[in-house]
């Protein structure tokens, strides 16, 4: 997972057999403890039954859990957590398993707690503009349920057709529209869940704040490590009456990057501001045939939504800025069908890439908007260094990039070079003043990169925060925050905000 650690020496066969027997014994113990708590069909442990749970969207990494539990009631969830806590069994919560950073990768001595059966929409309150839904409800299903009231749930990760709101809470998911409408954190009011001990706990409120520390701010994005989410109350907002999209071509990467900054500098907050580079445009045009400008070095999609008057005013301002920034071609969608056609390529970036390459690794990081062209040029240089091709899409409005590095997983050397390429992108992002994860989370994928983004005392403070919720470290252990030992092995320098590391302050 991005510049992986060197493999440790293989176990001696006698030791390997002993380890297998220990694991089997532990599995028997855990199955015996959990079986009385859920219906028979809700507990899986035979390999052929647990294989579908061995990975999430980060398919390069797989692990068998001891047991997969699929509870059907909140009481069962609480009982499972109590039992696991009593036995010191790690618990990995799982929604739809669409995560891209391995957050739901099973723990090989743990229980995968699937919450997929919690798929009921409890209430949609059109007057209050809230929806209360179980954790396994799909992101898009919330908007579908709210549609008849002229409302919707704004955060729209690309996987929204499949991903669950519980998973969105775990990752603080974003999406194309988050520049204008915020991340999951900004759109969630309340989370009901369970602590690692199976105790019911309620975070947030349907009021605009609650007493005490703002625990929602650490819960959202905590990747299943602080509590298990069971029910979420989200904010719904009025569906915009109209949306129109501008497709602008640029013959120079720097001009396109500057155009993004210029839109923001003009005081415009677009509903969406996305970029595709030339190779990505060629890939998606071949797939969706939307009429993309194949000669453009970069294409910007800039969207305005609101009332017809607001959109007319804003589109005019956007066009002016893009033209002044050197756009070689500007097209404005004239109908909803055309707007969707403009977006179709961007939304199909992944499958389009999938047609070109046996495998690809999707990276996720953020850099300040004004470094967009710098990182694109750096990635171009890395293509030569690692001898792999990389296509790029960006949530340009947020500086959140998704480079797709193409490789063949059957070639171990290509896989290795791909991981190095990915690590280089992440570390370059930090050096440019950004972060190693914009929206996909850290999971296992970016553990090494966390060594670069955070100093030892910061990682230790985050581990201490985790212990405040989960002293025995049973909830999703080994994810997100790397240990001191791991960082020491990784051996990279902590590069903070583009500055070289400075000496530690003296300690008494």
């Amino acid at each position: 997972m991005n510049a992986p650690l060197p493999a440790s020496a293989a176990l001696d066969p006698a030791d390997a057999a002993a380890e297998i027997e220990r694991r089997n014994a532990r599995q028997r113990e855990v199955v015996a403890a959990l079986a009385p708590l859920v219906p028979a069909h809700a507990l899986l442990w035979h390999r052929e039954d647990t294989v579908p749970y061995e990975c999430d969207g980060l398919t390069a990494y797989r692990e068998q859990p001891l047991v997969v539990a699929l509870p059907e009631t909140e009481a069962q969830v609480a009982a499972l957590l109590r039992a696991c806590h009593a036995l010191d069994v790690p618990v990995v919560a799982r929604g739809a398993g669409t995560g891209l950073s391995g957050g739901a990768l099973p723990n090989k001595l743990g229980v995968t707690l699937s919450l997929a059966k919690f798929n009921k929409i409890v209430t949609v309150d059109a007057v209050a503009r809230t929806a209360t839904v179980q954790c396994g409800v799909r992101n898009l299903a919330i908007s579908e349920a709210a549609a008849k009231h002229g409302l919707y749930y704004a955060p729209d990760p690309s996987s929204q057709i499949a991903c669950t709101i519980g998973g969105n809470v775990a990752e603080n998911s974003g999406g194309v529209h988050c520049l204008k409408y915020g991340l999951t954190l900004h759109n969630v009011l309340r989370v009901r869940g369970f602590t690692v001990e199976g105790e019911a706990v309620d975070f947030g409120s349907e009021a605009l704040d609650c007493a005490g520390l703002d625990l929602m701010s650490v819960l959202v994005g905590s990747e299943g490590m602080l509590a298990v989410t069971i029910e979420v109350t989200v904010k719904l907002i009025p569906k915009p009456l109209l949306a129109r999209c501008i497709m602008a071509s640029f013959d120079d990467v720097r001009k396109a990057g500057d155009a993004v900054a210029n839109v923001i500098a003009a005081g415009i907050i677009p509903a969406g501001l996305e970029m595709m580079d030339k190779p990505m445009t060629a890939a998606v045009e071949d797939y969706v045939h939307a009429g993309y400008d194949l000669s453009a070095v970069a294409i910007l999609l800039c969207e305005s939504d609101g009332t017809p008057e607001e959109v007319a005013e804003e589109i005019g301002r956007m066009e002016a800025v893009l033209a002044a920034s050197g756009a070689t071609r500007i097209e404005v969608s004239q109908s909803e069908a055309q707007r969707l056609k403009f977006w179709s390529g961007r939304k199909n970036a992944f499958p389009a890439t999938g047609r070109l390459s046996p495998d690809y690794m999707c990276m996720d990081s953020t850099i300040p908007r004004n470094r967009l062209s710098d990182i694109l040029l750096a990635i171009e240089a890395m293509e030569k260094k690692y001898r792999l091709r990389c296509l790029n899409v960006f949530h340009a409005g947020d500086g959140n990039l998704h480079p797709l590095i193409m490789f063949d997983a059957n070639d171990p050397d290509e896989f290795h070079r791909c991981e190095l390429f990915g690590a280089d992108i992440l570390e370059t992002s930090v050096a440019m003043g950004g972060t190693v994860s914009g929206e996909h989370g850290v999971g296992i994928e970016k553990l090494s990169a966390m060594c670069v983004q955070f100093a030892p005392a910061e990682r230790e403070q985050m581990l201490a925060l985790k212990r405040a919720f989960d002293p025995k470290a049973l909830l999703n252990p080994g994810k997100v925050i790397p240990s001191l030992a791991r960082c020491a092995e990784y051996g990279k320098m902590h590069v903070k905000r583009g500055l070289l590391p400075f000496p530690d302050l003296p300690r008494f």
């Binding site: 704040d209 970016k446 100093a455």
Partner: protein
């Protein structure tokens, strides 16, 4: 943050000394929120020694500034680029003083976590915190978050600091998201009773109308529209009411934000005479609580101010009953506790979090809850 800065080193030394000796520190900027929360205890740690804006990138919508920077100074800087802090943090301070003299600092703004009239439309203090550098109870200099909004690396410790009232650490520097000032603003005045006002506010909330702030008191509702020129005009036609002259409107909202409005002047006088000023935070669709006292409703119904002599238990029960909570915002006698009690699991998490940041209990002991 330059670790060699002698002022910073001075703060680090004092924290480390207090940690070693088991003494306590009262973190304070301008003292504009000293009245808020439980009583301050500990030796004074004045954060105004660290001030100045280290970076401001209007095209990145981010400003990074040190804790002791006057809030007025930051807002003036943002205004030069047509930008602002959309959540309108209060400066408080004595009525009649100009904003620059009121002393509120950026660090205190984040620590208090209070937002002004636009809260329901624009979001909270926490929603705009992108990153922070803090000094924890061990005297360690830690930075979390960054200068970008899309940032899910690790736990969001910087956002946790918003509203923490200095109990987790000394906020040294913070990166804040800023937004452009809206092109058009207009205030409308309407006459309606409480029930009609709440129903109207909720109905408007479900429509694409640029309602940015609201205030209902004694049968009068003032509504501030803010957004695109076309949107504000269209909304005015839809909603009706009387347009309020621009300067008078600005003065009104400023008075509401900073508690110089006649409602608060009256409330403060009554507090001196033994009443309590409560801040009620409830869902926007909560039914009227019918509590005895002078009531001002903001945030589309989500924040009310109640000046009353009712027993604390009655006020708390009413707020909890509608799914919210009540804060004893101002009173001579705060023995009933300022902040609403926490459930057992949340109280335990609070205690453990406090220990994880401040194991010796150096910072602002008891400011949020007794024993924290």
């Amino acid at each position: 943050m330059n670790p060699n800065d002698p002022e910073l080193q001075g703060l680090v030394d004092r924290v480390q000394a207090a940690h070693a000796a088991g003494t306590t520190l009262c973190i304070r900027g301008g003292g504009s929120k000293a009245f808020y929360g439980e009583a301050a205890q500990g030796e004074l740690l004045d954060t105004r020694v660290l001030r100045g804006t280290s970076s401001y990138e209007p095209t990145e919508l981010v400003v990074t500034t040190r804790c002791g920077t006057p809030l007025a100074e930051l807002e003036a800087l943002l205004a030069t680029k047509g930008q602002c802090l959309p959540f309108e943090p209060p400066h408080f301070g004595a009525a009649g003083t100009n904003v620059a003299e009121r002393g509120a600092t950026v660090g205190g703004m984040v620590a208090a976590g209070l937002a002004g009239p636009s809260r329901a439309a624009a979001g909270s203090v926490r929603d705009y915190v992108l990153g922070a550098t803090l000094l924890n109870g061990r005297g360690e200099l830690l930075t979390f978050g960054g200068q970008v909004m899309k940032n899910v690396a690790g736990y969001d410790v910087s956002r946790l600091l918003a509203g923490s009232l200095g109990t987790l650490g000394v906020i040294l520097e913070v990166s804040l998201k800023v937004l452009p000032v809206a092109p058009a603003t207009l205030t409308l005045a309407l006459e309606m009773d409480e029930v009609t006002a709440l129903a109207s506010l909720n109905a408007w909330g479900g429509q694409p109308l640029p309602v940015n702030a609201s205030a209902w008191w004694n049968g009068s509702l003032l509504l501030r529209l803010s957004g695109a020129v076309a949107a504000v005009h269209a909304a005015r036609a839809r909603i009706g009411g009387e347009a309020v002259e621009a300067d008078a409107a600005a003065a009104f909202w400023d008075g509401l934000r900073n508690h110089h409005d006649e409602y608060f002047v009256k409330a403060q006088a009554e507090v001196q005479a033994g009443a309590a000023l409560w801040r009620l935070s409830v869902p926007q669709t909560a039914p009227p609580m019918a509590l005895d006292g002078d009531l001002l409703i903001e945030w589309g119904g989500a924040q009310s101010w109640l000046c009353s002599t009712l027993p604390a238990a009655a006020v708390r029960e009413a707020a909890t009953g509608v799914g919210g909570h009540a804060t004893l915002f101002m009173a001579q006698d705060k023995s009933a506790g300022v902040f609403a009690p926490l459930s057992a699991p949340l109280a335990r998490i609070h205690r453990e979090l406090k220990k994880s940041f401040d194991p010796s209990g150096v910072f602002n002991p008891g400011r949020l809850y007794p024993g924290l």
